[in-house]
Symmetry: D2
Amino acid sequence: MTTTLHTHVPRSKLCRYNEKAVWYGDEDLVGDLLGKTGFVDVFMKQTFGVAPSVTQRRVIEAVLVTLMEHGMTPSAIAARMIYASSPENLQAGVAAGLLAVASRFVGTMEPAAELLEAIVTAGGDREDETLSREYARRIAQDFRQRRVAVPGFGHHLHRPDDPRAAALLALARECDTNGRRCRALALLSAEIDAVVGRHITINATGAIAAVLGDIGIPAPLMRGFAVLGRAAGLIAHIAEEQRDPSGRFIWDLVDGAMSEHAEPVDEPAGRRGAPVPTP
Amino acid sequence: MTTTLHTHVPRSKLCRYNEKAVWYGDEDLVGDLLGKTGFVDVFMKQTFGVAPSVTQRRVIEAVLVTLMEHGMTPSAIAARMIYASSPENLQAGVAAGLLAVASRFVGTMEPAAELLEAIVTAGGDREDETLSREYARRIAQDFRQRRVAVPGFGHHLHRPDDPRAAALLALARECDTNGRRCRALALLSAEIDAVVGRHITINATGAIAAVLGDIGIPAPLMRGFAVLGRAAGLIAHIAEEQRDPSGRFIWDLVDGAMSEHAEPVDEPAGRRGAPVPTP
Amino acid sequence: MTTTLHTHVPRSKLCRYNEKAVWYGDEDLVGDLLGKTGFVDVFMKQTFGVAPSVTQRRVIEAVLVTLMEHGMTPSAIAARMIYASSPENLQAGVAAGLLAVASRFVGTMEPAAELLEAIVTAGGDREDETLSREYARRIAQDFRQRRVAVPGFGHHLHRPDDPRAAALLALARECDTNGRRCRALALLSAEIDAVVGRHITINATGAIAAVLGDIGIPAPLMRGFAVLGRAAGLIAHIAEEQRDPSGRFIWDLVDGAMSEHAEPVDEPAGRRGAPVPTP
Amino acid sequence: MTTTLHTHVPRSKLCRYNEKAVWYGDEDLVGDLLGKTGFVDVFMKQTFGVAPSVTQRRVIEAVLVTLMEHGMTPSAIAARMIYASSPENLQAGVAAGLLAVASRFVGTMEPAAELLEAIVTAGGDREDETLSREYARRIAQDFRQRRVAVPGFGHHLHRPDDPRAAALLALARECDTNGRRCRALALLSAEIDAVVGRHITINATGAIAAVLGDIGIPAPLMRGFAVLGRAAGLIAHIAEEQRDPSGRFIWDLVDGAMSEHAEPVDEPAGRRGAPVPTP
């Protein structure tokens, strides 16, 4: 049945093995990678097929570090709630928390990357800045007209500038990995400020879309950096949970604030016991 | 390669289909089930191979209802955190919340079921109550000696009795689905009270282990009832979240209580915007 | 901090409890629900605030049963892969499988429901069928022009009709729960056939959108029925996995077909052992 | 209510922020970390409170790389099934795959680490090798008597030695990060060989337990390295899935092998369409 349905058989090139060796792509895990190649380089090779340069790696690691942590976010709260309920399954806490790395959290990274790509494309092979600027102005005017924030721009807190965005763009310049997408971001920023009549923050998402795009990361995979960075951050939350558990504190805090229990107010069944004795 | 590795090919008997029909097991979905057989009956047939009797179904639905909801638990908090972060993906919120249906939440159901099974087995084919009682006493003494709660017994809140446990056991009697495991639970309860010197609550987990066991549900599948019941409850939490969102309230509440932000204390980046503009 | 941020405190009305009782909404779990109210009714009450009528329940259970099972789908394969890797965590297998209840699986249910709602709205309070038909025609023409399938219509396999869709619509008529959305579906179907020049299948998703809509289920919650129904189906897959494990068979089958292992081809590390001895 | 319940308020020390800055622990994200500190160092600092030395980092990265990838495993298959069903949610595919990082996949790492810890403890503060050897012998004899594999030992494929284990232990020696746990592993290995009468493989899990333990990683957090490493690997699988989709191929392959469809055998509903038009 399968053969009749599929003339093309997809092959995974990521890993091969036999008794004596394991290969990642064409490289011998033991002979070529262990102790010789760093985690981020192997991740990049396996994911994008090419290892980053030293300077590209600095930018990539800065992006991963930026995306790692933001305190007691919904992602961290979910991870702690699940870990407290299933403490033998660290992976379940991380998996639950990663489900928050979605439209609300990194949602604007991909559309921002696509806008920058379109501005670059408008410039053509001769990289005509006038054409790119015109395209950027149309984007700014279009979003203004629709009264919608341009993906990658604006911040309720970080004004006039987002320190992370500024730092990432400066790092890309310092590392000489900045290119047409970083320039497109600058063009778009100038046009937005002109259309709005004041300076609008370039936020971290916009900066990440530009610096990753200039390194050659396609928009549909940019979310992968948020997932990897946040996975590391969630493991740190679970480590903190092991040292100083917050699961029941959060449970009591939220239940106490949101539930209207019959008087006398009691603790939820099993709030105290571990394992909780009743469903 | 596969053929050489596997002489036995596992077959799924759950579903077949062609242009004109879909079968669940041997039954025609359209001709035999839709409009004729209820959801719980089809679930039981597909999972256990046999539909419950009318009285068994009453007990099973009571168990599912008991396991559906317990307010703002870690399971519900995790589901709401993920739904608020990924509101286009209701299933992600439910999946995250279900990961809390683990050792701490229904953890004692399976060991309780195994204890009851062992007490039944001790009675032998002649169902010798003296032998079962002796075995139950040894269990009570052993846990007492180890200063460990017997799975299915004890409750910090519901004393002297857990209303849900009493109701489920009464329902099993009323439905005449109670059998050797419910009797084993009573024997064990009496021996525990004798050993401890006062009445210890039979909790809902212990009662569910007994009533499901007497219906023929194996211990390793009992958790499935908690998963199905809680899935329904989590959908209700997400429906409430759609009507009256609590995602940001919980985020602020927990972050405000657990984080020591630099002065001046500000809202976390992106706390206000939707989609959140920065990672 | 929280108080200053939130003038509105969201309250959960789903569950309250004290020493002696647990309430779901305003009902006493023990006194009002256990043994008296079925699982689907309590689910509907908790989720939508109202219990279905007997006829509505027949339709709802038929929808849940339809969405329960479709054989060895990606959802079932993922659930079995995770269960085989974490057999002490049935809930993890179900959670993984539920993540497949997404855009590709029930993706057209919500847009289909919105189209039907729009057709109903076009008819106005006087339920003017001419206005609804005109609106339906414009939809058919618009999708035809864009060469896109109308959500809820078309099937590569079930032609000319989808037996499940026909059965669900017939059941709604029999139960007298059909209303303006079922009529809107018929209008839209007639206009699509006229525009295309041949009969296009009304698929199960379109029928479910209509029959649930006429019962008063809002489009953003329709996915909840797919989640609940499929949760039951995935538990049945895990039960079958317990009886006749397929985890390693699937692993070998897929790995054998997609990997190009170094000669001599060997089993993956740990393919045999349980627990797998190496990462 | 909360205050009365909790005298201790857990605080998260992982992240603080205000308008102008974000801190990870006591470090300014922008001023101290971005472009200056690598991803793995920040992960280690946040998780364990201390940055690794250069040589420790080499060992840690080697462990992460070893755990990243093993081809078309259940973890990768689950991730691809979910991604194919929810391609707008890369994070859901990774989350599903991470749920396989459980008892069967890294299950022996933690018990292996505990055995090594116990052997070290037996040696006392004077690191008495005779006492440690005696303890190791008792472990070997005990497992032999119970006919159970010692966690961290044995491999069906890699014989007499696991190239990854040998490489990781050699790297620890080269980096001078090896200590009492690596010595305990060698002692245990010698005693097992003596008891069994032939050489038993030290597998990668055993080696990782030893080298991470000597760096100071507690057993309950070792699984975090498997989670982080595998998260990177699963992103690579999803990147490959974007380039060369295997979702439907795997679906057809498994369904074709495991389902007994009514003749004429047809494709499952919606196998072709995207989005799949029917549930």
